[in-house]
């Protein structure tokens, strides 16, 4: 059974870094990187808690995390494709410029 606290400290740090990145940055690619850090924090939390059974490591958490990594990759790929198309139309990556869609 691994000690839990280093993993939880890293998860908390990654959550703070990812949310701070989402709140402070204005570049869309950096926002995508922030989302990716949040995904990885969630996955690390799953893996850390899966080692807390006495005698075995829970395989279900590992399968969930493996599937989640694949799905995160696709989500980020679609997000990057959209950022590329945004750059084609708006000629900028600044998220604050995406304000044309208002009533």
């Amino acid at each position: 059974m691994l000690p839990l606290s280093p993993f939880l400290v890293s998860v908390a740090l990654m959550l703070v870094i990812g949310l701070g990145c989402l709140m402070i940055k204005r570049d869309m690619v950096r926002l995508l990187i922030g989302v990716e850090i949040l995904f990885n924090a969630a996955n690390l939390c799953f893996i850390a808690f899966s080692t807390q059974n006495i005698g075995f490591v829970d395989p279900f958490a590992h399968s969930v995390v493996m599937m989640a990594i694949v799905l995160d990759g696709t989500v980020i790929a679609v997000g990057l494709a959209m950022v590329l198309n945004v750059y084609k139309h708006y000629k900028t990556l600044d998220i604050r410029k995406l304000r044309r869609l208002r009533w």
């Binding site: 989302v35 279900f60 599937m67 959209m82 950022v83 139309h89």
Partner: protein
């Protein structure tokens, strides 16, 4: 007390989900074939057939699960050949048949209406594939029995839906709307 069935042998999928997933996988091949042969309406016909078959198979599932006492049995299917605590499962009851049936019915209407509505657009093969996979995702959400299966089908639905929002990428509106629909599946705060 409603009757319960438990299926755990082999790789099983309920019929509506099977029809929609296989229909979505075959749909690009149908698109390629339609462009080669020159029958451009083949893709639309395939989408109408698949969604109609999903609706009919929902009805067949309903009749399959109806018991002689007048209520509907709950069927638990272990999809990956493992029993539910260690593998994903689908749990089909009356509510999931109702939700999957309405998804298939609305999808059938969407298929019929988009024949004329999307007539002048290009990339129709991608469009019909995405719509079919979105219907498959929603059917899977209605039938999911645990959070793992729900997560997979949620992402299937989410990915297809925000690509569909940004489908007409030649204009700025759909792109911006797609980027603003993207956090609905990832948690990006709306700005």
């Amino acid at each position: 007390m409603v009757a319960q069935e438990f299926i755990s042998q082999g790789i099983n999928l309920p019929l509506p989900l099977f029809v929609l997933l296989v229909g979505g996988i075959i749909s690009p091949l149908i698109g390629i074939l339609a462009e080669k042969v020159g029958l451009v309406k083949l893709r639309e016909a395939w989408m109408v057939i698949v969604s109609g078959a999903a609706f009919v198979s929902n009805y067949m599932l309903y009749q399959d699960l109806s018991t002689s006492e007048g209520d509907i049995a709950v069927r638990v299917i272990a999809i990956w050949g493992q029993n539910p605590p260690l593998g994903g499962c689908l749990e089909i009851d009356a509510l999931s048949i109702y939700m999957a049936g309405s998804v298939a019915f609305i999808g059938f209407l969407v298929a019929i209406y988009s024949v004329h509505y999307m007539e002048r657009e290009s990339r129709l093969t991608e469009f019909y594939t995405l719509v079919t996979f979105m219907m498959a995702g929603m059917t899977g959400i209605a039938m999911a029995g645990d959070f793992f299966t729900l997560f997979i089908f949620w992402e299937l639905m989410g990915l297809s839906s925000y690509v569909l929002v940004a489908f007409l990428k030649a204009r700025w509106g759909p792109i911006e709307a797609g980027l603003k629909a993207w956090p609905s599946s990832t948690g990006w705060p709306e700005r």
